[in-house]
Symmetry: C2
C-alpha cells in the first residue's frame, strides 16, 4: 500500500480527500544504486502540509500524484547501493508506503536497537535537532532567563522547553487542556504551564512572568504570538519555529500586529532551518543522547498504528490532538 | 512662547488640537545646576507622537500639560552648572519652547559653527546615529548585498541607504512621488527607486531585485512591509526602524502576515534603540563626519521656520511631506 498526494491543500484545512490510497502498487525495480526498504515508523510533522503546498521553497518540490513525503525509519530489504545491506535500519525521506526503492541520498544508516527506533524520529532525530538548534542558535538562553514555549506539549515544543530547563532557565509552557499542562509541569519539570483554552493568556503570563519573556519560542502564530509579543523583555529573542495556527483556517492568519514591540524592546525575531547546521549534527545528537540517558530530557511518543490510518493520524496533529511526538507505526522490524 | 501637550493622540492621527500654545510663560528661575538656553533648531522625529502616547516605555514618560518634548539645538544664555557657559551650543532634549532652564543631564555641549548646526541634528546627530547603528548592528550589510529601504527619502532612510552604498551594496529606495525618487537616484546615488504610489511595489521589486532582498530597512510597516517580506532572500536581515504607517490610521495597522517567511528564509527581524550603543557614539560620529566631508554622505534639511508653526511642521512628517531631515528653525545663534 502507498498514499499519493491527490490535491494541494493551499489556504484551507487538510482533508482525507487530499490523499489517494493505492492498495497494490507495482513492485519497483531495484536498479543500480537503489535501496529497497520496508517502512517501520513514520514521523508526523506540521511541515508536511507545507510540503504538499510547496510552501516556502525550502523542501524538495512535490507534484500531485507523488507519494506523500514523510520522514521515517525503515529497514533495508535489499540494496545495490554501497553502504547499505539487508537488515540495516535507515532514516530519512521514506514517504507514506509499505515498501519502496530509495536513492541513497535520501536516507542515512543509523545504529539503533528495535526499542530505540522511535527515539531516532524524536529526541535524537529531526524533532530533537530542531529544538536544539532553534534554542541554541536563535533563542540563545542564558541561565535565569524566562523562556515561554507555545505548542509546548508538542514534539518540538516539549524538547525545546526541556533544553531551556537544562540551560538553567525558568520555563513556562502554553498548551491546550489540563492534561497537557499537567504533563509539562509534573513530568517534564516546566516551572509553569498555561492552558490557553482557560482564561486570558496575557493576564496569566503577566502574573507568571512579571519581568517579561526573554526567549519566546513560537510554534503557533496567530493571536497567541501577538499576545506574547506584547510581553517580551528587553533584548528578547523570538524564535519562530512553527505556525500551526495557519493550518486550521482558510488563508493566512493575521500577522502579529505587536511586531513593533521588537523595536521598543530591541528584540530580534528569527527563523531557522535545521539543515543549515548539518555540520553540527553529530555534536547535537551526542548531547541530546546524553541528556536522554541522564533522564534530563524526557521523550514521549504518541503512537498510532497502520499505514491505512496515515491521513487521519496526520490530521490529528493540526487539531492539537497529540501529546509529544506523533508517530505512525507501520511495521515491526524483522 | 512654548507649546504643551494638550492630549494623547493614541490610536488616531495627530491634530493641531493636541497642543496648547502658551504665549507668555513665566520666566523660570535658574536655580542651582541649571542651564538657561535659547532654542535655535528643533528636530522633527516620528517618535515624537509615540512620546506623547507614552508608547513603548523607552523614553521618559510624558504627562498632558508637559512642554512638548523634542530634540534640538540651543545656545546657552546663562548657567549655574559646571561645564556650560553663555554662548555655548548644546544639543539634547530641548522641547518646544523659545527659552527654558534645563538640567545638565538632558543636554550635551557640542563643538559646532553656526553653519554646521543643522548637521548636528541630522547626519551627525540622532538621525545619523540611528541609521549607522541600525545598519551596522542589525542590517549587517556585506558588499554585493541588495538593500531595500522604505521611507527612503526621509531623514533616517536617506542616510541608511547611503551607508549601505558606502558598504558596497546595491541599494533600492522606496518613496512616495517622482521627486523623492529622482533625488534618491540622481543625487544620493541609490541604484534604483520605486515610487510606491505608482504601480505594484512587489512586481517592480521582483524585476529590480530578482535575487531577493538581503537587508530590508523598514521605516513604514503595514502593507509595504508585508509585500517586502515576501521578497526577502535567504538569511536576510530585516531592520525594523520605524512604523510611520501606524501614525496615519486609527488603531494599529495589521501585522505583517508574511512574517513566517522569516522561517522559510532563515531570516532575522530586529529592532534597536540607538542609545544602546552610547559607548560607540564617538566612533560613529567620527566616521559619519568623515563621509560627509568626503562627499559620500549627502545630507539635506527640509527647513521650516518659527516656533508658532511647530504642530503643523511635525504633522507634515506623518503625511510624508518632507524630503530629508525636517527641521524647525526657531532662532538664529547670537
Amino acid at each position: 500500500m502507498l498514499w499519493r498526494i491527490a490535491a494541494r491543500p493551499t489556504g484551507r484545512k487538510l482533508t482525507a480527500e487530499d490523499f489517494t490510497r493505492v492498495d497494490d502498487p507495482a513492485t519497483e525495480p531495484l536498479g543500480e544504486n537503489g535501496v529497497r526498504v520496508r517502512t517501520l515508523l513514520l514521523s508526523c510533522d506540521p511541515a508536511q502540509k507545507g510540503w504538499m503546498e510547496n510552501a516556502g521553497g525550502y523542501a524538495a518540490p512535490t507534484e500531485v500524484g507523488d507519494v506523500m513525503p514523510a520522514f521515517g525509519i525503515a529497514q533495508v530489504i535489499e540494496s545495490s547501493a554501497p553502504g547499505f545491506k539487508a537488515g540495516d535500519f535507515v532514516e530519512g525521506s521514506i514517504g507514506w508506503r509499505h515498501e519502496g526503492v530509495l536513492p541513497p541520498r535520501l536516507i542515512e544508516r543509523i545504529e539503533a536497537s528495535p526499542e530505540t527506533l522511535p527515539l531516532h524520529l524524536g529526541a535524537l532525530g529531526g524533532t530533537g535537532l530542531t529544538a536544539y538548534f532553534g534554542m541554541l542558535k536563535v533563542g540563545r538562553p542564558f541561565p535565569g532567563d524566562t523562556v515561554v514555549v507555545t505548542g509546548a506539549a508538542g514534539a518540538v515544543g516539549s524538547v525545546a522547553g526541556q533544553i531551556a530547563k537544562i540551560g538553567g532557565c525558568r520555563v513556562i509552557g502554553i498548551a491546550g487542556g489540563p492534561d497537557k499542562c499537567r504533563w509539562l509541569t509534573d513530568e517534564l519539570g516546566f516551572d509553569a504551564a498555561i492552558d490557553y483554552r482557560e482564561g486570558d493568556v496575557g493576564r496569566q503570563l503577566k502574573e507568571l512572568a512579571p519581568g517579561g519573556i526573554d526567549v519566546l519560542w513560537d510554534n503557533v502564530g496567530g493571536e497567541i504570538l501577538d499576545k506574547l509579543l506584547a510581553r517580551i523583555a528587553m533584548h528578547a529573542r523570538v524564535v519562530i519555529c512553527g505556525g500551526i495556527a495557519r493550518y486550521e483556517q482558510p488563508g493566512r492568519p493575521a500577522g502579529p500586529s505587536n511586531y513593533f514591540n521588537i523595536v521598543f524592546k530591541r528584540a530580534t525575531m528569527g527563523g531557522f532551518i535545521t539543515s543549515d547546521y548539518e555540520t553540527e549534527y553529530a555534536t547535537a545528537r551526542a548531547r541530546l543522547a546524553g541528556w536522554v540517558k541522564e533522564g534530563r530530557l524526557i521523550h514521549r511518543e504518541d503512537m498510532a498504528e497502520g499505514l491505512e490510518n496515515a491521513p487521519e493520524t496526520l490530521m490529528r496533529l493540526y487539531r492539537g490532538d497529540n501529546v509529544g511526538k506523533l508517530v505512525l507505526k507501520v511495521a515491526d522490524p524483522v
